[in-house]
Amino acid sequence: MTISLQPTRGSRRGHQITPRRLRRGLFLGVMTVAAMVWIVPLVWMFSLALSSNTALQTTTTSLVPVAFTLENFVAVLQGGLTPRWLLNSVIVTGVTTLLTLLLSAMAGYAFARIPFTGKRIVYPLVLAGLMVPREAMIVPLFLMFAEADLHNTYQALILPRIAAPLGVFIMTQFMAAIPLETEEAARVDGANHWTIFWRIFLPMSVPALTALGIFTYILTWNDFLWPLVSATEREMFTITTGLASLQGNFAQATELGSLMARGVVASLPLLILFLIFQRQLVRGISIGSGNK
């Protein structure tokens, strides 16, 4: 078997490293390294979650669980309020996501497809909302809900989050990319904006909607500071604040396994969600050309 590093033309004998093979090899190599970099911390997280807290006080550099135990997971899942916290998260996040998708899609359609007076002012105004540091807004928001006596409710956790400039931005950009012919064909048939939006643009925007839906779900699920200050009663905790409340002082030093187990439990639903919906992101079918 001869291995020649020169690209040979016409030779079909043996294994030759052609530029193509080289590129492919390089590509595989890079992807393998990248996959390793991405997966090792996750594996480690699982390993720590399955290790006993006491053992972890002395050894943490093991990809394999040290003193394997399920007690960390059991403690989280058996926790009296964990199911309630999960339910709160699911409700709050679910409703927020649905409403965000709806409102953003409608607003995106308006900005992308309807010529109207004042668009040049309103659109930048909406986008500017992206740039406001959330931490800076906590107190005014808090005072607003306090006056309405709405703390420790689902509304308080949902309402501030559905005003998502991110959603409008994403939907606008994607809807603007859909060719005009699609819309004009429908107009010829006498459809009005709502029908066009509902029957044509929404279905065509599924990848964008999926992306936005996934982001909104994750961002809302992991939101910490606002639920921290607004939902102070234990029954109203989300899974994120709830699991954080289990932490004692210096938790990293004394209960590392438990911390990781809680992290896994809180993140797993999101990962499953992504697994289910990622196909909508990559359909492999062209929609830009107007195929329905």
């Binding site: 006491t54 006080q57 002395t58 943490t60 403690a75 058996q78 926790g79 009296g80 309020l81 409700i91 409703v95 409403l99 709806l102 906590i138 107190v139 808090f142 005072l143 306090a146 006056e147 703390h151 420790n152 409710t153 689902y154 509304q155 949902i158 309402l159 006498g190 459809a191 009005n192 709502w194 029908t195 509902w198 500071l225 921290l228 200050v229 939902a231 102070t232 009663e233 234990r234 029954e235 109203m236 905790f237 604040t241 709830g242 954080a244 409340s245 289990l246 932490q247 004692g248 002082n249 210096f250 938790a251 990293q252 030093a253 004394t254």
Partner: protein, 456 residues
């Protein structure tokens, strides 16, 4: 047109659906038990003792309801969380007509953010835990109730508290809380390593250094004899270095602040910083944070760990060597050891409810009675002289070894804005041993930044 009317209808339908969802959600939490039963208390004028009052408790220490469900025997507790939770359970189990409901707590990092926001415009808890160094910020803004006289009426004997403990809850000559503990810096010692280096006295107790030179000599002796690291502490994560610095300055008779301005750039400060840097380079590893230093100590690789009182019981249980918790040695002649205090305070309510206030005071008095259980269960120092002298306390592991700290621990100055000043100090000090910042410059910058923080 037909179609537009149809689409209007769809619009309305969607809008209505959205509104229903939200309204439906409003239903769910309203069924939850309210944190205050003001209806109950307003309905009665007569025997308050027979009415059920629910008060809210805000605290950190974590959440361990699962392991403490139904438990009222405090001797079964194995952590800070469990002690306080079992004490709360026991109180609730008593037939006193009061139910204490714990508000969702957070680790102390987030606790004050949460607490501050409830003060800003929400339901203030009836009883809350607080660190001494945070007290001025809240008292100074008129947010806490002076409880000295009120608690005395409930039978709390303030004279029984130690001087540091009383100092912690005092602000402008009024008591604003009931002390729960003193916690402070300790020298956690691996006695075996000291023995190997020949630095123990006739009773096997490690020799305490009495000068900076002696400390370094000890360091060299131990490191040569055992090959292990002499000293460890968290050099950058939680401001532990600044606590030692503070202690060393106090030992020399210096002060960090007179309450108005900071005085860091002083001969005492310079000497303390010099010694600490010498420790860092010769005797320790300044790249170790809280977790690493503790891990190294528990693995037997460190002779002295500078940490606090809260780990005494834990180390006593887990250290695979002969372990002793000792006072910070009096290196410069005086006694100087950083201390802080957990205390229970009563926020000032915007609409005070006498029944809830009374119930809150009852609970606080109960906690004042149980400081011994807290101290024994956690390693923190009890704030009452009667407890310190008691059999139960002195026979608890290691307590007698650091008894002096109980009397002599000093709190940081009771001055508003201290949190920012302290962070600045810690950062500047850390810079000398992990970022090679010039010590003289660090002292100047620390003082300037502290003054910046204290001025506002």
């Amino acid at each position: 047109m037909e179609k537009s009317r149809e689409s209007w209808k769809r619009f309305l339908a969607l809008g209505a659906a959205g509104a229903f969802i939200l309204a439906g959600c409003a239903g769910a939490p309203a069924e939850e038990p309210e944190a205050g039963s003001s209806d109950d208390s307003s309905a009665e004028d007569t025997a308050a003792a027979t009415e059920e009052v629910t008060i809210s408790l805000a605290r950190f220490f974590g959440d361990c309801d699962d392991t403490t469900e139904g438990v009222t025997d405090v001797s079964q507790a194995t952590s800070e969380c469990e002690v306080i939770q079992i004490l709360t359970n026991a109180f609730n189990a008593e037939d006193n007509g009061i139910t204490v409901e714990k508000l969702g707590g957070q680790a102390w990092g987030d606790y004050y953010t949460q607490l501050s926001t409830t003060f800003a415009g929400g339901d203030r808890p009836d009883v809350a835990v607080m660190h001494q160094h945070r007290l001025p910020d809240y008292v100074g803004r008129g947010l806490l109730t002076p409880v000295g006289e009120l608690l005395a009426e409930k039978g709390v004997d303030y004279a029984d508290f130690t001087a540091p403990a009383l100092g912690a809850v005092t602000y402008e000559d009024e008591y604003y809380g009931v002390p729960f503990d003193i916690h402070g810096s300790l020298w956690h010692v691996n006695v075996d390593l000291f023995t190997e280096a020949g630095l123990v006295d006739a009773n096997g107790v490690p020799v305490a250094a009495t000068s900076a030179e002696e400390l370094i000599e000890q360091c060299q002796a131990v490191q040569e004899a055992t090959g292990k690291q002499f000293f460890a502490q968290d050099w950058f994560e939680f401001g532990v270095g600044a606590r030692l610095f503070l202690g060393l300055v106090w030992q020399q008779g210096g002060e960090l602040s007179d309450g108005q301005t900071a005085t860091v750039d002083t001969p005492e400060g310079a000497e303390a910083l010099r010694l600490m840097n010498e420790l860092a380079t010769e005797c320790s590893n300044p790249e170790q944070g809280y977790t690493d230093s503790q891990a190294a100590f528990l693995a037997g690789d460190v002779a002295v760990l500078h940490n606090g009182t809260w780990v005494v019981d834990q180390y006593n249980r887990e250290a695979p060597f002969t372990y002793m918790a000792m006072d910070i040695p009096s290196i410069y002649g005086g006694f100087g050891s950083w201390g802080d205090s957990h205390m229970w305070v009563m926020p000032l309510q915007e609409n005070p409810d006498p029944a809830r206030q009374d119930a809150a005071l009852e609970f606080m008095a109960y906690l004042a009675e149980n400081v011994g259980n807290w101290a024994i269960g956690t390693g923190h120092i009890a704030p009452r002289t009667s407890v310190i002298a008691s059999e139960a306390y002195t026979s608890a592991p290691q307590r007698s070894n650091y008894a002096a700290t109980a009397d002599n621990a000093r709190m940081v100055p009771t001055v508003a804005g201290w949190a920012g000043a302290w962070d600045a100090l810690a950062e500047e000090l850390n810079a000398t041993w992990i970022a090679d910042k010039a010590q003289s410059q660090a002292l100047i910058d620390a003082e300037a930044r502290m003054n910046e923080a204290l001025a506002e």
